[in-house]
Structure formats: C-alpha cells, structure tokens
C-alpha cells in the first residue's frame, strides 16, 4: 500500500523507475541483467528487422521456407531478439492473394520485428475499415492490386503476431539483399502498401 497522501504520478519518473527496478530485483522477479536485455531488445525492434527478413526470403528459398513455417525461428536466425515475444506468423502474398493485417480488438502487432505500431494502426477507423471495406481502405493508401487478386484480411485476435511477406517488386533482380531490405517499409509488412 502506498502511504496516505503519496501522489505517485506527481513523483519524478526516474525516482519511480529506480524504486520499481530495486523492488523487482529485491523480490527476485527481474534481475538488472534481464531488464537490460529487455531494454536492448525493445531498442532493437524496428521495421528494419522485418525488412531484413523479407529481403532474405526474396533471395534465399531455404530461408523463405523457414520463415513461412516458423517466423520466430526465422527471426532468431537473423539475431532478432524474440525472447518473451508472442509466436510470429508470416503471411505469404502471391500474385493471386494479398494479405492485410489488422487487430479489431486492440492493437496486436509484431513488435519484435516491426517495432511500435504506427498511430493509425491503433485507430478505431483503421480497425473497423480493414475488416469492413479492405478494398476502399487500400484505395485510400493508393495501393492498386492487379486485377483478380483476392484480399485476405487477417484479424490478429489472439496469441500470434502476424507480418506479411510481400511480393518482390519487378525490376529488382540486380539488387543485393541489403538494397532489397531498404525497399521494404512497415506498411508493406502490414499490407496497406506494396513494396516499390
């Protein structure tokens, strides 16, 4: 119990954080080393990690197979920290099928490989429209799918986190894996845009 009259939100955040860390250590819940590891993993999480996976999948069929079978293993094999992260599932786009990821319930997002979700991903507007009117939503993003492409909206509601493995853009045969990774944006891995 906090002492009466102690207004926690008014205390300096560094002091609160220091007290919390000391308590976690004293109670054996999380060691300073574990907290440091978690901070490093959070700092490392960004769309660049997912982009590395996509570029590797575009150039290495064995890696592609691993990524589709077990996204978590595929991320780990590139040195992406996944400890404590929910299982990662990878959705493979084909010329006939385009994936669009949303979370109608809240904001489930594959943070380990894409970092923090963009603000609009968490908005009621995006969440409602992704499932109701995915084609209208893509049109507003300026995303034009080839005629005959089916849309599969993936509503992320439970224990997995989902990222899209988009199609490799035409005209990129000469590019290195690093150059390919630079083409891939977070929106491409959510499925609202296509890599260009």
């Amino acid at each position: 119990m906090a002492e009466p009259g102690l207004n926690l939100p008014s205390l300096p955040p560094e002091r609160l954080l220091g007290a919390l860390r000391a308590l976690l250590a004293a109670k054996g819940l999380a060691s300073p080393a574990e907290i440091a590891e978690r901070i490093a993993a959070t700092d490392a999480a960004s769309p660049a990690q997912g982009a590395r996976m996509v570029a590797k999948a575009w150039t290495d069929p064995d890696y592609r197979a691993l990524m589709l079978a077990d996204g978590t293993e595929a991320a780990l094999s590139l040195g992406i920290p996944m400890r404590g992260a929910p299982p990662l599932g990878v959705l493979e786009d084909t010329p006939a099928l385009h994936h669009l990821v949303c979370c109608t319930l809240c904001s489930c997002y594959p943070r380990a490989v894409l970092g923090y979700p963009p603000f609009w991903y968490k908005s009621a507007g995006y969440r409602a429209r992704a499932v109701r009117d995915p084609r209208g939503l893509l049109a507003e993003w300026g995303t034009v799918l080839p005629p005959g492409t089916k849309i599969r909206v993936v509503d992320s509601t439970a224990d997995y986190r989902w990222m899209v493995l988009p199609l490799r853009p035409a005209g990129t045969a000469e590019l290195s894996e690093v150059a390919l990774a630079a083409l891939v944006r977070e929106t491409d891995m959510i499925g609202v845009t296509l890599p260009m």
């Binding site: 109701r132 599969r152 509601t157």
Partner: protein, 95 residues
Amino acid sequence: MTARLAPGALVRVRDDWPETRGKVHIRTPHYLRGRTGRVVRHLGDFPNPEDLAFARPARILPLYHVLFDQPPIWHEGSAGDEILVEIYEPWLSPA
C-alpha cells in the same frame, strides 16, 4: 484439451454474447459470432485469455486459424475476399 478440429473442417462460431452477462474479456470478434468458416490449421495451444485477464487459473486451449468469406459478413467486400481469424476451440462447433 486436445485439438479435435482438422484442417478443412467446416465450423460455426458460437452465437454467444457473454458481454451481456457481466464482466468478461473476449477475443472472439463480435462480427463472427454465429458465422460459419473453415479451419485452416491448428496454431498451437495457449492458456485461455478469458481467464488470464482476471488472473484466474487458465485452461490450455487449442487455437485455430479460421477462414471466413468476407462479403456475407461485411457487404462492402468483393466476392472471393476473405477474413482469417484466430479462434479458441470452445468457440467453435462442427457445422
């Protein structure tokens, strides 16, 4: 609980609204209640979030990826478009 729904199985989502009976935490989207879909695959087994949310002992439940046709649910979609959602076994029955 062992997974008893095979890939390809036609399933119906329980048309149930626990929200109307008290405080709950539900991961089955409301727009799918009472809808029929097809099991894509068993994703694994996970503790029931409906219990975890209240710090109750949680049963381990099979979780499935279930595919639904989009237009019958939301009429804005095009024929052939689909919605793929993770659903826990107690919400599903063979259709």
